[in-house]
């Protein structure tokens, strides 16, 4: 008999409207955490899109510069050749890099990282074009979302560096909530502009870590990282910038969830005190009643996490349509993190109701309800 009657579930869902409101309240609080987490995870993915697609094994940058986002880097002009001469290096290509505005139709602007690369090899450019062809002299590749924002199509002219460039191609990936990326030929950067970064490819059989160490020995005044490490540094930038905000919002969200769970369980426990007394009078142990309350908490949390996850996915899609630069990445790891936090909150919310059921008098089962 024991364990066959799902007391917790029945008590919780007896009044569906109340169950829906309770689940909705907790879900809204968790949604806050999930969405914010999703926005930052999405930004992290966007921020590392270029690096994840890069064929480079190692990246060289100015000393103490470990990222591309929000960074300036300027290398000594001799760096490219010094790196090429390192044993194990298959190729090395310097990238020109600056932050500027792209100015489109009707003076619409897009903050953008403009990257100058060698179009003959294509190694420093986008991996795949969604339309058009690599840039020729006076031409530029623009990210698709940025092009939409600027009202640009293939062949249109876009303002850059005070002049104009013709859009020769479009690519996908790299536009974030704050900025975008665009590519031109190295030669179209102002004469004398030094390389900001050097992309380095390893010969077959040379591990990236080994190559990074060899290159670092050759250019000791610069920062040398494997591409993987560089991408992690980019992700860490987003994470470190967002960590405090995430902590504040998560705390508020989880406190709201705590209030709703406590409210729901407390109300439910009070309403079902007589039933609990009956269970106790029939020989049910306090432990069993405590398990019922905890199961109610677990059900509330599970339902809320499911609703919040579904809502986050739907809202993420809606936000992505309204503003394609905002990517909301709802990841399984993120959902698990939020779920575990919510379970802890549910356990705290169950404390007062637990005290009530522990103190319940079995004799009250035989008294008339008032």
């Amino acid at each position: 008999m024991r364990g066959r009657v799902p007391l917790a579930r029945r008590a919780l869902f007896q009044d569906r409207r109340r169950a829906a409101l309770a689940a909705g309240g907790v879900a809204a609080a968790l949604l806050l955490v999930l969405l914010l987490q999703g926005i930052f995870d999405g930004a992290m993915r966007q921020a590392t899109a270029y690096l994840r697609a890069s064929p480079a094994d190692v990246i060289v940058s100015q000393r103490d510069v470990r990222t591309m986002h929000m960074s300036v880097s300027a290398l000594d002009p001799a760096t490219d050749d010094a790196v090429r001469a390192v044993d194990g290096v298959a190729w090395a290509e310097g990238l020109r890099y600056t932050t500027t505005f792209l100015v489109g139709a009707g003076d619409r602007q897009q903050l953008s990282y403009v990257i100058g690369y060698d179009t003959a090899t294509g190694r420093g450019g986008p991996r795949r074009l969604s339309a058009g062809r690599p840039p020729g002299p006076g031409e530029i590749l623009v990210e698709r979302i940025a092009a939409d924002r600027l009202g640009l199509r293939l062949g249109d002219r876009v303002g850059v560096f005070g002049g104009t460039f013709r859009v020769s191609g479009l690519f996908h990936g790299g536009t974030t909530i704050a900025n975008s990326a665009a590519f031109i030929r190295t030669e179209d950067f102002a004469a004398g502009t030094p390389s900001a970064y050097v992309l380095v490819g390893a010969r077959p059989g040379v591990p990236a870590g080994d190559l990074a160490r060899r290159v670092a020995a050759a250019v000791p005044g610069d920062t040398v990282q494997t591409t993987g490490r560089f991408a992690r540094e980019e992700a860490a930038l987003v994470r470190d910038m967002s960590a405090d905000l995430m902590r504040i919002m998560s705390t508020i969200g989880l406190l709201i969830a705590l209030a709703v769970i406590a409210l729901t369980l407390f109300t439910l426990t009070l309403a079902k005190l007589r039933e609990h007394a009956v269970v106790k009078a029939l020989g049910g142990r306090t432990r069993r009643l405590a398990a019922v309350v905890l199961a109610e908490a677990a059900w509330s949390v599970a339902l809320a996490v499911a609703v919040a996850t579904a809502a986050a996915v739907v809202l993420g899609a809606v936000v992505g349509r309204v503003n394609p630069a905002v990517a909301v990445a709802v990841t399984p790891a993120g959902v698990v993190r939020v779920g575990l936090s919510a379970l802890a909150v549910g356990a705290v919310g169950a404390i007062v109701p637990l005290r009530r059921v522990v103190a319940v008098d079995p004799a009250s089962a035989f008294r008339r309800a008032s």
């Binding site: 929000m70 600056t98 602007q109 560096f161 709703v260 409210l263």
Partner: protein
């Protein structure tokens, strides 16, 4: 019994209030929940105001009437823009320009205590405008190995005057602390030459500040020479547009979620109170209480909850802002009269929306419920 007299009677008994306060702990949990949602809305609103205030900080405090920018660049916050350094002489040559100063800017990522900390580096010429506008201690940088840092950055990372700070592989001596802090990032000030060296491109500047009694006339003349010149107000508007354009969508989303959470909590508390007292409400209906009267009861309950939640939210906001100011000063939270008004409107909106579910339940209540025993 005359139904009219029955209807008149419940008006004298504060049913809604008694119903709500029948269980104080439940009321406390409900009010706390609503209060937290209101606090969230107030905090987000306060952060939004902080973002807006700090987005225009440099343009408003630099003392410039005009900004000469790279063509196509419309604001200062992006850290973008590059002009030939001789542009400053061209600006000074205008008869209406009283003074002009080149300013170079860049974002850098500092690595402090194992964390990446973004900073907005401003390089100005010693003795000219464009440097730190408000000194908390020390002085502005005079030589190329000196730096002045924002007070928030200094406080968070234990930086004081006389300490050394690494910037893009170069060591700088901290000579001053300045009350110049942006949202989630700090301003740091070096000399123009120092930033030229760090950026590896001397002979360039990011923009030129200029002072002019007749800003309109000077702007027209400089534009006629091909210099992209904007007035202070326009630059501030553009800075604001840039900053709010980035953060607008996420903040609006968070406020909407906060509103949804608050609405659900009010609805849940009011609904629970109604369901538990449905027998009493059945009696009211059996005695001639109209549907409208009962709906009014539901609305009164949700409004009471919202009002209490608003008060709790205010207290929580004051406490929360104090904690954030002390522990995370990079988030400026500015309370405006508008924010208070919006919080009241949000609470009112939540109360009215939340009344729908309990009101429907009350409207559908059968008078016979009065004669059933409590479940």
């Amino acid at each position: 019994m005359n139904p009219r007299s029955v209807r008149a009677h419940p008006r004298r008994v504060p049913l809604a209030r008694r119903n709500l306060t029948a269980d104080r702990r439940r009321l406390a949990a409900g009010v706390t929940g609503v209060g937290l949602a209101v606090m969230l809305i107030l905090l987000l609103d306060g952060m939004w105001a902080g973002i807006r205030q700090q987005a225009t900080l440099y343009s408003e405090r630099s003392g410039a009437d005009l900004f000469v920018l790279q063509p196509g660049v419309r604001d200062l916050t992006a850290g973008a823009g590059s002009l030939p350094l001789p542009t400053v002489d061209q600006v000074r040559a205008d008869p209406g320009v009283a003074w002009a100063a080149p300013v170079r800017t860049a974002y850098v990522i500092l690595q402090l205590h194992g964390r990446k900390v973004p900073a907005y580096v401003v390089g100005s010429v010693p003795g000219q405008r464009g440097g730190p506008w408000s000194s908390a201690s020390g002085r502005p940088p005079r030589s190329d190995d000196e730096i002045t840092v924002g007070t928030v950055l200094a406080r968070r990372h234990g930086i004081g005057v006389g300490d050394r700070l690494e910037l893009l592989g170069r060591s700088f001596r901290v000579v001053g602390l300045s009350d110049s802090n942006g949202f989630m990032l700090s301003y740091v000030f070096v000399t123009h030459d120092a930033l030229d060296g760090l950026a590896g491109s001397p002979g360039r500047t990011s923009f030129v500040l200029a002072g002019a009694a007749d800003a309109g006339g000077a702007t027209a003349r400089l534009r006629a020479q091909g210099l992209d010149t904007l007035g202070r107000h326009q630059v501030s508007v553009n800075n604001l547009r840039f900053a709010t354009g980035i953060l607008g969508s996420p903040v609006r989303l968070m406020v909407a979620v906060g509103l949804a959470a608050g609405t659900m909590i009010i609805a849940l508390t009011a609904y629970t109170a109604v369901v538990e007292r449905r027998r009493e409400y059945g009696i009211v209906k059996a005695m001639g209480g109209t549907g409208r009267f009962l709906v009014g009861l539901a609305v009164a309950q949700t409004l009471t909850l919202a009002a209490l939640g608003l008060g709790a939210g205010w207290l929580l906001f004051v406490a929360g802002r104090g904690v954030i100011d002390a522990s995370r000063p990079q988030f400026a939270i500015v309370l405006t009269a508008g924010a208070a008004g919006r919080a009241v409107a949000a609470a009112l909106g939540m109360a009215l929306l939340a009344a729908v579910v309990p009101a429907r339940r009350l409207a559908a209540l059968e008078p016979a419920a009065a004669y059933r025993s409590a479940a």
